[in-house]
Symmetry: C2
Subunit: 108 residues, 2 copies
């Protein structure tokens, strides 16, 4: 997640809101897709190609720990969700997050 703007500079009450929750949320969601691997993961999940974490790891030529990290980021962004399916982790799209992202982009 990109850290917030850090308004250190003395801000002379600029015209725009300096704490724009919409911009923050927007950036957070966009951040989830700001890496090719995460784009691939999202598309996999949307296509329902896969679900189990292992399947994702198998299809991405990166270390398991790295993939797990990307999954964590996607979860934090609210784009995916995961639940324990037996002993394996089953990931899927977080519909609200995707919907919100589409809404924000479409509203540009």
């Amino acid at each position: 997640m990109p850290k917030q703007p850090a308004t250190k500079k003395c801000d002379p009450t600029p015209i725009t809101l300096q704490h724009d929750p919409t911009a923050e949320e927007f950036a957070k969601l966009a951040w989830g897709l700001a890496h090719p691997v995460r784009v691939k993961i999202i598309r996999m999940l949307i296509g329902r190609e896969v679900c189990m974490c292992g399947d994702i790891v198998d299809r991405i030529p990166l270390a398991q720990s790295t993939v797990s990290q990307h999954l964590k980021i996607l979860k934090e962004c609210g784009l995916i969700q995961g639940e324990l399916e037996g002993q394996k982790m089953c990931y899927g799209i977080h519909p609200q997050g995707i919907k919100q992202l589409k809404k924000l982009i479409a509203g540009l």
Copy 2:
């Protein structure tokens, strides 16, 4: 721009394309909006609130060099374009970039 996945690991021909130009492009565009300040700038430009670089700088409580850097990133992502208007820089949306981003997001 997030650097590409760096497929160092010996990739045993995974199922997914390891060089997915669409994912790269998608990530590049999303990266432009992965920071609250850049979201604000884009929205300013779309709303035609401003155009001149100075106007943008005035509305963002950050140093001029920092704003200029964000503008550079947005230009590199293909989301905005800038042309010299007299002695001032006039920024505006890059319609194709925005269109492409909307298309990719909508196609999720």
